[in-house]
């Protein structure tokens, strides 16, 4: 039997303060980041396709990109333990730091998603459009309104170009949410280059699911089939991830086992990620295709919950593994 124990306590029981790394805030942030990426990519692609049957995807969904992004950044801010120094993120750029890349990518996403939103606002959200104009008018002798109108004109004129920038930006954001984890070699659970693509696909899938919630009719049908393909892709990537981990040495193998048979995380993983997050949505889509009626909101909600659960188990899992414990090799 091999045994490895802390002779002086560290990270456990009365000694737990200060050792916490990331928890639900970061999981939510990664989830919302992926969701934003998904919405952005989907909106940009449907705008470029110029298909009339995608009204929600092309004109409405994009409003949520900056909202979810802001929410995500809020949760990231919540996680900072030394909030007073938050502006330090933008006083420097560290090329080796994924976190630094991420903070700047987030800043790029804002103008792109807002410009994309402005380009469709008159059609998608005429009420909001009017409301903004009305309220800007009296400010600074109407100069702000002028700027707004200029921006709207610009975004409509350059809509395709903006959409073409939005797609790679969204992909960068989606991949970043995965790479943020996989860049840490120290955490065997994350030690896989596949996390980037996995989080990207999962992000697009949750983005699609979110748009699904808002759409109906033909668009819904189309999105449903897109989402099924994304889910299948995600299952395939997840499979690759696990194969990679299991064959990637003892540490990485032991690490993923926490998802397969750990005390707390394994149930979350099997129920919310695998079953209701991936398999059940596929089944529901299959049923719907065959004309069997299922509640319309069920499928996308399961996908969204699955996306969140995936991030929770991957973030938490890495840290549960930190505690030294007896490895009984009997």
């Amino acid at each position: 039997m091999n045994e490895s124990v802390f002779v002086t306590q560290k990270m456990t029981s009365s000694f737990a303060d200060g050792w916490h790394i990331w928890g639900w805030e970061v999981s939510l942030y990664l989830f919302l980041g992926g969701l934003t990426a998904g919405i952005l990519i989907l909106s940009a692609m449907s705008l470029l396709k110029k298909k009339e049957e995608l009204p929600v995807s092309s004109k409405l969904a994009i409003l949520w990109a900056p909202i979810f992004l802001s929410l995500g950044m809020f949760f990231l801010f919540l996680d900072l333990t030394n909030k007073i120094n938050v502006l330090r993120f933008y006083m420097t750029f560290h090329v080796t730091s994924v976190m630094s890349w991420g903070s700047w990518i987030l800043l790029v996403i804002y103008p792109v998603s807002i410009l994309l939103l402005l380009s469709v606002m008159q059609e998608g959200y005429p009420g909001i459009y009017k409301f903004i104009r009305k309220n800007l008018e009296p400010l600074v002798h109407g100069k702000l309104l002028k700027v707004f109108d200029l921006l709207v004109d610009f975004s409509i004129k350059k809509r395709d170009a903006i959409a073409k920038i939005a797609i790679p930006s969204g992909i960068a954001l989606g991949i970043y949410t995965g790479i943020l984890l996989s860049a840490f070699n120290a955490r065997p659970l994350w030690n896989s280059a596949i996390l980037g693509p996995l989080f990207l696909v999962s992000g697009i899938s949750t983005g699609t699911a979110f748009v699904l919630l808002l759409s109906s009719g033909k668009e819904r049908k189309l999105l449903l089939s897109v989402d099924s393909k994304l889910i299948l892709t995600e299952i395939f990537i997840l499979f690759l991830f696990f194969i990679g981990q299991i064959t990637g040495g003892a540490q990485r193998r032991d690490a993923v086992m926490i998802l397969f048979k750990g005390d707390i995380l394994a149930p979350i993983f099997w129920i919310f990620v695998v079953f209701t997050g991936l398999l059940l949505p596929l089944i529901l889509e299959w049923l719907e295709e065959r004309g069997i009626e299922v509640p319309q909101k069920l499928q996308p909600l399961f996908v969204l919950a699955g996306g969140l659960a995936l991030r929770i188990v991957l973030v938490e899992g890495a840290f549960i593994l930190r505690e030294l414990s007896t490895k009984a090799l009997l």
């Binding site: 039997m1 045994e3 124990v5 002779v7 002086t8 306590q9 029981s13 009365s14 000694f15 414990s325 007896t326 009984a328 009997l330």
Partner: protein
């Protein structure tokens, strides 16, 4: 307020030897050696002290930063610690900072055993005690008061009680810890080992540890010298049923079956004698009874010992030869906590005999000849002569070879009374100083019975430990960091003196031990025995008599004096041992005359039956048993004990690492819940746990209910017939999952 001094000025101050250059942070104390802090604004002071986290009394410097506790580091001059305090000593400020400390005198308002007290003024509390003591003296005689003491401050109360008329001072550390060792060496060499041990370990070329777990026992001097010997390539032989820290460093680890160490020792003696590996000149010159010894161990061959100890004859021979190879720099370490199986004096004596055969006593790498500084006493009136003492109790009569009072005997005499005077108890009053007797003595029910029989129980302590619940009056002592105590002048290679001076003013309404004892003396009309103005005058007087002064000691902390005798026995020296025969007694006439084996004889001890495991116990490097379990720093490092279980046993019982179980002993006593540690470090026939946990004192908020108390499971005590030691290794436990 504080005075800032930069580094250059500091050097000037200390260099010129001017004491008292500045007044330190807020506590109105004269501070020596103001030091510049890291940030230019920090005001740093340091004050000399010696430690009280255990009773080893290592000297150190207590530092404050901006008037607040900072750190305590060892004094480089000190031979107790070589400038390196242990885990506990370094955590000393924990006791000063402990919010659970006793804060004011308390007087009982309910029956004993409950922590129901009212707060009292010092005057009330001391008057209460003085009146009670007067009553006891008049009714039963002053000899009816005994004192349990385990701490430096106890000396002031000893003066008080001697003046009152009693000399029955009990240290549980005798009958419950190291008594057998002292008696074994007394009976062999005419001198005891004492504390700190006279072992010349740093020069040893071969060290033999028998159940002694240096490393887990962190007495700094011992660890320092142990490591130094290892660094110099000493050969280490460790006999232990548990894979101890020391065992993991050993060249030879002998995973002996518990309770059979004496058989192994006799086999070693047999090999050393019959292979003629002993120091012939030393044995001829200094010992007596070699031929008798030789005859007595004739049959104790390694082959004889093998089935008993489970140690193969080859290993026994090889290790014996290893010891002989390095003689006389081979140290059969006498250990410290020796009360195991009731034949402990004999077992330790076997080690003492082995040391004699190897010629290591009085030789480099074996045992040095210790010296301690002679300090004159402040002139006081002669103490009254007690008419009776512990020697007259049943236990005192029964264990005539015991040189100190036996804790269990005092308990018994508090219940049963004097031989021939059975109608009343021998003791009526107890003083308990710095010593949680409910945790430091097994068979708690006997202690409690005694406590219930007393008409006065006074507890002087820093923390609200279990024993305070049984006191009539609780007096809050200061921590050692808030008081002076008498000069330390313990034995060692160099006669040394060390000063404990206060870092802070007493916190809360606590008072230093010297003050309490003196005030009580005033109240009892015994002020003549404390004639000094204050403790500083007392200390200064004593120090000046030996050419130092309080001022000098405040600067030095520790002072080395000159030895007057050589450190070792000289070559061919005609050395006389303080025994009856003047020689090392390999064969003891004294023991024979008292009806004991003149040469140790192995006798079998009980073994656990199916489903039961021998309860072994030891210590955590982070704790001085129960004394430190509430320390804010140390309780973080090691908050609770675990029961060590061999994987084979774990499988049998379905025990998982980290799960909580209870242990039940052979008499049906069930422990508090305790965490399982499944580990190969313990034999499958035994379980192990660290002693001191499982506190039942609710007011010790960090320690209460954490882990299990090994001691409550020790209901079967194997008494040493020679000196009354209480062997505690004879208890067996099973699991209650």
């Amino acid at each position: 307020m504080a005075l800032k001094v930069n580094r250059r000025e500091f050097i000037k101050i200390t260099g010129a030897g001017i004491g008292g250059a500045a007044v330190a942070g807020g506590v109105g104390k004269v501070a020596y050696g103001l030091i510049k802090g890291d940030s230019g604004d920090d005001v740093i002071t340091r004050v000399p002290t010696f430690c009280e986290m255990c009773t080893f009394q290592c000297a150190g410097w207590a530092y404050t930063k901006n008037g607040k506790p900072w750190k305590i580091v060892g004094n480089e001059l000190d031979e107790h610690c070589y400038g390196r305090l242990c885990t506990k000593g370094t955590s000393g400020f924990g006791i000063y900072n402990d919010p659970d400390r006793l804060k004011t005198p308390l007087i009982r308002t309910s029956e004993r055993g409950k922590q129901v007290f009212r707060e009292a003024t010092w005057d009330e509390a001391l008057t209460y005690i003085a009146d009670k003591l007067k009553e006891i003296k008049e009714t039963y005689g002053p000899e009816s008061v005994a004192m349990f003491s385990h701490g430096s401050g106890g000396s002031w109360f000893k003066t008080l009680l001697k003046a009152y008329g009693t000399t029955d001072f009990v240290a549980p550390s005798y009958a419950n810890c190291r008594g057998p060792r002292e008696e074994a060496y007394m009976n062999t060499y005419g001198e005891a080992i004492e504390s700190p041990e006279r072992t010349d370990m740093k020069n040893s070329k071969c060290i033999v540890l028998i159940g002694s777990h240096i490393g887990e026992n962190t007495h700094s001097q011992q660890v320092n010298e142990f490591a130094q010997a290892l660094r110099n390539g000493a050969s280490l032989i460790v006999v232990d049923p548990r894979f101890s820290i020391a065992a993991s460093k050993a060249k030879y680890w002998l995973p002996i079956k518990p309770g059979t160490d004496l058989a192994l020792l006799l086999a070693w003696i047999n090999v050393i004698i019959y292979e003629e590996l002993y120091d012939k000149d030393y044995v001829r010159r200094y010992t007596k009874g070699f031929e008798e010894l030789k005859k007595a161990v004739k049959d104790n061959t390694p082959e004889w010992a093998y089935p008993i100890t489970t140690i193969s004859p080859d290993v026994i021979r090889e290790t014996a030869r290893e010891m002989a190879k390095h003689k006389p720099s081979t140290l059969i370490h006498p250990g410290r906590h020796n009360v195991w199986y009731g034949d402990d004096t004999q077992r330790v004596r076997a080690g003492a005999i082995l040391n004699a055969l190897l010629g290591s006593w009085g030789r480099k790498g074996g045992f040095f000849i210790p010296e301690s500084a002679e300090l004159p006493e402040w002139p006081i009136p002669a103490y009254p002569k007690p008419k009776r003492s512990f020697k007259d109790t049943e236990a005192g009569q029964k264990y005539q070879l015991a040189n100190l009072a036996i804790s269990a005997g005092v308990c018994a005499a508090t219940v049963h009374g004097v031989t021939g005077e059975a109608e009343r108890a021998f003791y009526e009053g107890w003083f308990i100083y710095g010593c949680n007797v409910l945790k430091s003595m097994p068979q708690r029910e006997n202690t409690i019975k005694a406590l219930q029989n007393l008409s006065l129980v006074v507890v002087i302590d820093v923390l609200p430990t279990e024993i305070t619940g049984w006191a009539d009056v609780v007096l809050p002592d200061t921590s050692y960091l808030e008081r002076y105590d008498d000069i330390r002048h313990s034995q060692g290679r160099t006669p040394q003196i060390a000063l404990r001076s206060p870092v802070f003013e007493p916190r809360y309404n606590s008072k230093p031990a010297w003050w309490i004892a003196r005030e009580l003396a005033y109240k009892m009309g015994l002020g003549d025995y404390f004639p000094w103005k204050d403790v500083e005058e007392y200390l200064d007087f004593k120090l000046k008599k030996i050419g130092s002064s309080l001022d000098e000691m405040k600067r030095l902390g520790v002072k080395n004096l000159e030895r007057t005798t050589p450190l070792y026995i000289g070559k061919n020296e005609d050395y006389k041992f303080p025994t009856d025969s003047g020689k090392i007694e390999l064969y003891s006439e004294t023991l024979k005359n008292f009806g004991f084996d003149p040469v140790p004889v192995y006798r079998r001890h009980d073994e656990p039956e199916g489903g039961y495991y021998r309860l072994l116990y030891g210590r955590s490097a982070s704790h001085s048993f129960a004394r430190t379990i509430n320390n804010p720093i140390l309780s973080e490092l090691d908050p609770e004990n675990e029961v060590w279980v061999n994987p084979i046993v774990a499988i049998e019982w379905g025990l998982k690492n980290g799960q909580y179980v209870r242990l039940e002993n052979q008499d049906g006593v069930v422990s508090n819940k305790v965490k399982v540690r499944v580990t190969e470090r313990i034999r499958p026939d035994s379980v192990y746990m660290v002693h001191g946990f499982g506190s039942t004192a609710k007011n010790l908020r960090r320690a209460f209910g954490k882990g299990a108390d090994d001691q409550e499971l020790m209901t079967r005590i194997l008494v040493d017939p020679i000196m009354g030691g209480q062997g505690m290794h004879g208890n067996f436990v099973t699991f209650r999952v």
